[in-house]
């Protein structure tokens, strides 16, 4: 394998509280090539914080420290804010959870997608429009001409999320971080949106970090999975080997999910004491 696209060693994110500093991410290390990596965990496990710290989006008083954090040979920790702005969007971009809160309500969809391109370079207006329309087509929006002139409140949640994906992918980044891209969407739309991300990512040979709380979903769309619990990576495995997971937490999560052909009378509940004390099952 060539040099990894993203290499992180001993990443820690700390927030001060009235009871002293709290590590929400506790020294995790992983590397990512041009592949699809899933990060799974429950709320508060630090998965979103990991995603945000890659883009250096954690604001003060939060603090990010790491022994190494390189992206394609660039040391992310030593970049200035100005240099970071050049990376964000152009080389690494991020799809957020809810299109309702992440799109600009007073800008048309076409303008917003175009803005993502213009921020990183000059482009003649006609070419810009053509790129925007072809991107809208790539995320399977019918009548891109009409949709480009709409405002975010005029489109559905699924379409809004596709617009956001278009906006994030139009500068052709090398790494896409998708933070719960489908949690705000319906089950039937979820699959469509993920298929689109999957097609574009594999087609362009990008790296993908898919952050989600849904183990099944991640195992369907990723090559590799990291399971996080209270700021630590407790399990790292190939997506296909998820049912061979060894850690008590992963096993517990898998067992706690109802199945389509559910015959159990009671769902096993996670006993939170077993892995914190290291007893294991």
């Amino acid at each position: 394998m060539s040099a990894p696209l993203l290499d992180i060693e001993n990443l820690t994110v700390t927030f001060p509280t009235s009871r002293g500093p709290v590590d929400v991410v506790k020294g995790i290390s992983f590397s990512l090539g041009r592949e699809r990596l899933g990060i799974v965990g429950e709320s508060g496990s630090g998965k979103s914080m990991t995603g945000r710290s890659i883009l250096r989006l954690i604001r003060k008083p939060g603090r990010v420290t790491a022994d190494r954090m390189t992206f394609d040979g660039i040391d992310l920790l030593s970049q200035s804010e100005r240099q970071m702005r050049e990376l964000r969007g152009a080389r690494i971009s991020m799809v957020m959870q809810d299109p309702k809160f992440s799109l600009n309500p007073v800008m048309t969809i076409g303008d917003q997608i175009g803005e993502a391109l213009l921020t990183h370079g000059k482009l003649p207006r006609r070419e810009l429009k053509a790129r925007v329309l072809s991107m809208l087509e790539a995320v399977r929006i019918n009548e891109p001409e009409r949709v480009a002139n709409l405002y975010p409140h005029e489109v559905s949640g699924g379409m809004g999320q596709r617009v956001m994906i278009a906006m994030m992918l139009i500068p052709e980044p090398d790494l896409l971080i998708a933070d719960e891209p489908t949690s705000a969407l319906d089950v039937s739309v979820q699959a469509q949106v993920l298929d689109i991300i999957d097609d574009l990512v594999t087609g362009k040979g990008m790296g993908l970090i898919l952050i989600s709380h849904d183990l099944n979903l991640v195992s369907r769309y990723c090559d590799r999975i990291l399971v996080m619990n209270s700021g630590e990576i407790v399990e790292s495995c190939k997506a296909g080997d998820l049912n061979k997971a060894t850690h008590a937490y992963t096993k517990g999560l898998l067992a706690a999910m109802p199945r389509m052909d559910e015959e159990r009378d009671e769902l096993p509940v996670l006993d939170r004491s077993t892995w914190t004390t290291g007893a294991g099952t």
Binding site: A256, M260, E262, D265
Partner: protein, 250 residues
């Protein structure tokens, strides 16, 4: 089949001038657990809201435990049928303690023995007594949902309307709440009408389900059909496949 706990006939519901639900008909037997599934905007929550009196703009017939439901707020009705909402962060009053919240339905209905009733109910939903005088912001999501379920059960209703009771919760917490709902139903013989978009949850908790789309019921199926993937309607099959199930010929 026993007496119908919930019976809907030609039910159409609108919000102002916008019709949302069209000619829905089904009945839920007493002690049964029935699910409404479908995508957002299909009108499944609206049906619950109409039954509980929160969406008064409906035509047709709604009857609960054999009694027809009127359009006006109905105090006696509240004793037979209660609702649990989706978001435990939004459905509890932020400045009332758990104790206030659980005692209020009793005060409204003039029921005595509040102290012991609140204590017993906390035990029933698996909350420790030390949570009794806490505020909602001091509880986790799962604990709040337990409080919301406890509040709904305070008046000892026979019918529970559950509007996505676990979709705001983590997987491991969802398992706890689902177990709790199953246990309560077994112990108290409750009837559930539950809205969800999570088909595996239906498989765990329900006996039958109705698939809704664009305000109409497109299919009513037994849970066995869901477990084996033998759904008939093309839309239900699409929904099933999107949830990761493997389809079988109907």
């Amino acid at each position: 089949m026993k007496k119908a706990a919930i019976h809907l006939e030609d039910l159409s519901i609108s919000y102002g001038k916008t019709p949302v639900v069209f000619d829905v008909e089904f009945s839920v037997a007493e002690g049964e657990s029935f699910a409404l599934v479908g995508e957002s905007g299909s009108g499944k929550s609206t049906i619950l809201r109409a039954i509980s009196g929160l969406a008064p703009d409906w035509t047709g017939k709604i009857s609960v435990l054999g009694k027809p439901r009127g359009h006006a707020p109905d105090r006696a009705f509240a004793k037979t049928c209660q609702m649990v909402f989706q978001d435990p962060y939004g459905s509890l009053h932020p400045r009332k303690t758990v104790d206030d919240c659980l005692a209020e339905p009793l005060a409204v209905h003039g029921i005595g023995g509040r102290d012991t009733r609140v204590k017993d109910m906390l035990d029933a939903v698996g909350l420790d007594q030390r949570f009794r005088f806490r505020f909602p912001h001091q509880l986790s999501g799962g604990q709040r949902q337990r409080v919301a379920i406890a509040r709904a059960l305070m008046l000892e209703p026979r019918v529970m309307l559950l509007d996505e009771p676990t979709s705001a919760l983590d997987v491991s917490v969802q398992a706890e709440i689902l177990n709790l709902l199953k246990k309560l139903r077994r112990e108290q013989g409750l009837t559930y009408l539950m809205v969800t978009h999570n088909l595996p949850v239906v498989s765990f908790l329900c006996d039958r389900m109705a698939v809704m789309r664009h305000g109409r019921v497109v299919e009513i199926a037994k849970v066995d059909a869901l477990k084996t993937g033998r759904l008939a309607n093309p839309y239900s099959r699409e929904l099933y496949a999107a949830s990761g199930g493997t389809l079988q010929p109907a």
